[in-house]
Amino acid sequence: MKKKSLCSGLLSAAVLSLALIFIQTADAGYIQGTRVQSEHPSPFSISISPDGNTLAVANQSGHSVTFIDAKSQKVTGEVAVHDQPESSVFSRDGKTLYVCNAESDSVSVVDVASKKETKEIKVGDWPCNIKLSKDGSKAYVCCSGNMWNTVDVIDTSRNERASVIELPDYGPRDIAISPDGGTAACICDTAGSINRAVCFIDLASNKVVDRRPIRHSANLRSVVYSPDGQYVAVTYMKPKNWLPVCEAENGEVFTNNVAVIETKPHGKLAQLPLDELNNYDGTPYGLAIDPQGKYLYIAVRGMHRVTILDFDKIRDIMISNTQEQLDSYTDDLDFVNHYLVQRVPVGLGPSWLALSPDGKYCYVCNYFSNNVSVIKTPL
């Protein structure tokens, strides 16, 4: 009898342990691009509710979204989504969160109150960014697969894919909606091209109305409109691959820039350096601009910091210089001092950031540190 009890006890313990292991591994995500499981959530992007009270952090390796109360700065919950979430956006009433699951090719619809996924919407290849229309009735999803050239449009009243915007270039990576809601600027990171472009889309007709190539550009990562709608800013890297690398001065095989483009037809385009000699901004990533249009914030993923630029000064540079003069500043490693405000060290691998509605706080998710840095901005 004792033996039997012992055996059944051991058996139960073994089954329980196996079940626990199964539960843990079934819920665990994996490291990007691999099937190696990881306990690290790897926060990749962050969005903020319209009232500024809730933060949603998309965990790329965790395959989940973590909610944070912005006032108390406490984690309030986590919801499992699908593989490799890379971006999210709140609905205008803050009750729903839309999450791009890059590797599952889908968008999760999450009820914020109950913290549950209510629907999964299939979209194109590798959805990596999502933005809402001004009235909140549509969500625009960048499907960034190397051989994909669409922005999928989700009708948020039915939560269904309603239409598809075709682009002339592959790899749409991020999209920004103009302040008046009439136009979108979509950056296309087309593999193989050395002059990657921003496509301007008329949102009434869903047609591309303008295409602005950025000369010698790669790794376009983020785009924002200035609050007055007169400019868009784009983070990207500039490859110097027309030279043998031994001829690239100071090892500047890549430089790191922000492109500022006048949105009016045939407007000027400045390729402004973020680098200084011996202090480059390797791999600039997410962008944000405050509601007053005063400061531009750039998460620098490779150098673990946030670079803050004075957008008023950038605007002055745009107005007071000809296109030819602007072109001459592109490789000037002193030029950043004209508009650099500060470089703020944060955690490891900051990828995306979000500003509070008043622009006074900047929330930065640090991929490798598994945390969010809260920056009090200069405002």
């Binding site: 700065q73 590798w126 390797g282 691998g349 598994n370």
Partner: protein, 340 residues
């Protein structure tokens, strides 16, 4: 009374003025809080750098321990170990392990020989790894690249210009690169089967008269099907100079550009500049994930899949015998390749 009003007005103005100045003067930005959402993590120590040329150093084939792979992922994305923090591995291979599709003259086969950035997902499955197939041993440093030798600072370290790495950090980076998996095609039916067009393309692909499967064998329904033979072949993409292979290091010849009157060093040119090659046989790449690995061939001379088989980027009928195929048949083969 009047004096009092003037005094009050001036005081109000001064107060307003000071407030306004306070509003526009930039304060210093600073991190005021950190919200931990997962385990705290620190990167691997820099360690003692290797002093022997890495090409002679072999990293053991470590199991894909999660922490090791994650450390490698960090190093892959970290720019701070370069000379000035200019860029990381992910600048060329993307944080997804894919490719920017840029071509570079890295000097690894002598100057003047531009090479297409390799798509490195699934790279461990099909050595050799370099375009020329020079690196064959799967446990060789990043085998997927003896170029990591240079990346990590062998010779002058042309690329990153950093110090040599320690064995631990190399092991982590290699573990990450080796653990990258193919993404799988988004172009198949939802149940993973081939579409009708893809099936038509498959028939042509396996036609012995066309010959694609001679060097790219595989079964599309078998996840282990690599669609590569691990050999090198001359498929008419080697750029041979007037007097044979490249003899002048650094000399760049782009006959099409020169004929068209374009300065091959000019910044206006939107097509890869083609250098001259050291050899004319190149490693057969896998066709898995070929939908995501454009441009194609060792020098990126085919911008799209159709250009790999329509004889526009190769000598006629040297990369498969395809000149007798109709446009539709060629397009079907492209659709089949996109499904792999």
């Amino acid at each position: 009374m009047r004096k009092t009003i003037v005094f009050l007005a001036m005081a109000a103005l001064m107060l307003f003025g000071f407030t306004a100045v306070g509003d526009v003067t930039a304060g210093e930005a600073k991190v005021v809080a950190t919200i931990q959402t997962g385990p705290e993590w620190t990167p691997p120590e820099r360690g003692e750098p290797l002093t022997i040329p890495e090409v002679h150093y072999r990293v053991k084939h470590s199991p894909y321990r999660s922490e090791l792979v994650r450390s490698g992922q960090f190093l892959f994305n970290d720019a701070s170990w370069g000379l000035q923090g200019e860029y990381s591995c992910a600048a060329c291979h993307y944080e997804r392990g894919q490719s920017t599709g840029l071509i570079w003259d890295l000097g690894d086969e002598g100057w003047g020989s531009w090479k297409n950035v390799k798509y490195i997902r699934g790279g461990r499955y099909l050595p050799p790894f370099r375009h020329e197939g020079f690196t064959g041993h799967p446990d060789e440093i990043v085998g997927a690249t003896s170029s990591i030798d240079r990346v990590c600072g062998r010779d002058p370290g042309f690329v990153f210009r950093s110090e040599n790495w320690s064995a631990d950090r190399l092991e982590a980076l290699i573990a990450y690169i080796r653990s990258l998996e193919y993404t799988g095609s988004p172009f198949r039916n939802a149940d993973g089967s081939l579409t009708e067009v893809q099936k038509r393309g498959m028939k042509t692909f396996y036609d012995p008269k066309v010959g694609c499967a001679n060097c790219h064998p595989g079964d599309p329904m078998d996840k282990r099907g690599m669609f590569g033979d691990g050999q090198t072949h001359d498929v008419g993409t080697g750029r041979v100079g007037k007097y044979g292979f490249r003899s002048t290091p650094g000399a760049v010849f782009n006959t099409k550009a020169l004929d068209a009157g374009v300065d091959p060093y000019g910044e206006e040119y939107d097509v890869p500049i083609i250098g001259l090659d050291l050899v004319k046989e190149f490693d057969t790449p896998t066709l898995r994930d070929s939908y995501a690995s454009a441009p194609y061939f060792h020098d990126g001379s085919a911008q799209s899949l159709i250009q790999t088989i329509d004889n526009s980027a190769t000598e006629k009928d040297k990369h498969g015998v395809t000149s007798h195929l109709t446009e539709q048949e060629l397009q079907d083969v492209v659709e089949f390749m996109k499904a792999l």
